[in-house]
């Protein structure tokens, strides 16, 4: 498919002042979804997200129309998101796709936690993340697109199943499954909308304005609000700044206060540990695609060696418990 040509034809339907599109180029990353940046000839900077031809959604991933609907709902609830310009129709010739405004900022965690350019916004960022998550968690769920519901025990069982399927023998992961099973909190009384992948990499940070966009709603579901807070605190997204548990830039107290003080630190740290365990299993699964011959790239092989980073984090959490 010629995406650039399809975008050029679509341009007049994206903005009344536009007659064409230019500078279309695919951004790196995203194996299950393509992301393209392009500009309309009236100067509007846009992003296209589309499912590659013939690709099937991952079992837990949302259809793109649902993702777009959630972004619109989050935006209406006061959470920062890119604004959705168009959910593509079959006649648009782009397959399953939507178009949104392009935000100017940084998603790379390494820069956000270290670069001088972000020094002014870092101190307020953990609290802001808590506030934004509170808005997301307050979005009314009746009328939302169909979403799966999950809880702590369900997630543990799902990831243990994936781990067993691989036949891997990692004692630390074995221990972590049993430990987390023994302390898993009951489901919340009322499941809320959970973003599902709220972390460095999916947050657009502006050097002066801070968090200006929550991206990548593909894994949104209904569940425990503490899941989003805990995922944000997984050490793998701190980029070396391990003393700052919230994304490498902030403290638990600020995150919890930003959310409204309604969630216990203990519950967040449970989900943080489960997050490390999930990421460890995901690293092994990506290595499996190398071992099975599906993707023989050095990148796929090396991700398997990141499993041990989750193991050392899990040992630290088990020792502290």
């Amino acid at each position: 498919m010629d995406v650039a040509a399809a975008l050029d034809r679509l341009a007049p339907r994206l903005s009344p002042a536009a007659t064409g599109a230019k500078n279309a180029h695919r951004l790196s990353g995203g194996a299950s979804l393509e992301t393209w940046a392009f500009d309309l000839d009236d100067g509007t900077p846009l992003i296209l997200r589309r499912r590659p031809d013939g690709a099937l959604p991952r079992d837990t991933a949302l259809p793109l129309a649902s993702e777009a609907a959630l972004i619109r709902a989050a935006n209406a609830a006061g959470a920062p998101t890119p604004s959705v310009v168009r959910v593509c129709e079959p006649g648009d010739g782009l397959g399953e796709a939507y178009v949104m405004r392009r935000l100017e900022g940084e998603t790379l965690g390494r820069r956000i936690v270290r670069d001088e350019a972000f020094a002014d916004v870092r101190p307020g960022l953990a609290r802001r993340c808590g506030e934004v998550l509170a808005r997301i968690h307050a979005i009314p769920t009746q009328g939302s697109p169909p979403l799966a519901t999950s809880d702590a025990r369900g997630e543990l069982a799902r990831y243990e199943g994936l781990y067993r399927q691989m036949g891997a023998q990692r004692p630390i992961l074995e221990a972590a499954f049993r430990w987390l099973e023994s302390i898993a909190p009951p489901p919340p009384e009322r499941p809320v909308l959970v973003h599902g992948d709220f972390r460095n990499g999916n947050l657009m940070i502006h050097p002066q304005r801070g968090l200006i966009g929550v991206l990548d709603w593909e894994l949104a579901h209904l569940g425990d609000p503490a899941e989003d807070l805990g995922w944000m605190c997984v050490n793998s997204w701190r980029f070396g700044e391990w003393r700052k548990p919230v994304g490498g830039f902030g403290d638990y107290a600020d995150l919890l206060a930003g959310h409204g003080g309604d969630i216990s630190l203990e519950r967040v740290q449970f989900w943080q540990a489960l997050g490390s365990l999930k990421w460890g299993v995901m690293c092994l699964m990506m290595y499996q695609s190398f071992a099975a011959g599906a993707d023989r790239s050095i990148e796929r092989a090396m991700i398997g060696r990141r499993t041990s980073e989750t193991e050392i984090d899990l040992v630290a959490l088990m020792e502290a418990a």
Binding site: S28, A175, W242, M302, S308, E309, E311, I312, M318, E319
Partner: protein
């Protein structure tokens, strides 16, 4: 050491990458070249540290499980005992073994990972 991928698999993936023609200015190729360099460093650390760490792990596992065997068999036995609940993840002796294993593996895989410093800071 037990690892996914093994050093042999890493070496094979490095050789495959090195055999590919380099397109100049190709951002993807430049990224993979950095990953390949990291993989070479990982393999070198494994050559240097792997045998000693494996011998230490075997000694710990023999004491912990009160049985003999090679690393793969002992490791599998510990996994099985944890899965069945025959040993507890809260058992200090088990936790001490897991801690030593994690430190050994991260020293091969990612010696600069912040989690190593964090764990040692807890001492």
């Amino acid at each position: 050491m037990i690892s996914h991928p093994t050093a042999a698999e890493l070496s094979e993936a490095i050789a495959t990458f090195d055999a590919q023609p380099a397109a100049s200015g190709d951002a993807r190729h430049a990224f993979l070249a950095r990953v390949a360099d990291n993989a070479r460093a990982t393999v070198a650390r494994e050559v240097e540290l792997g045998a000693r760490l494996e011998a230490e792990a075997i000694d710990r596992l023999r004491a912990l499980l009160a049985q003999d065997g090679g690393l793969a068999a002992l490791n599998a036995a510990l996994c099985e005992a944890l899965r069945r609940g025959e040993v507890s993840p809260r058992d200090p002796a088990v936790l001490a073994h897991l801690r030593a294993t994690a430190i050994g593996q991260i020293r091969i895989d990612q010696p600069t990972y912040g989690g190593l410093e964090a764990l040692l800071a807890g001492d």
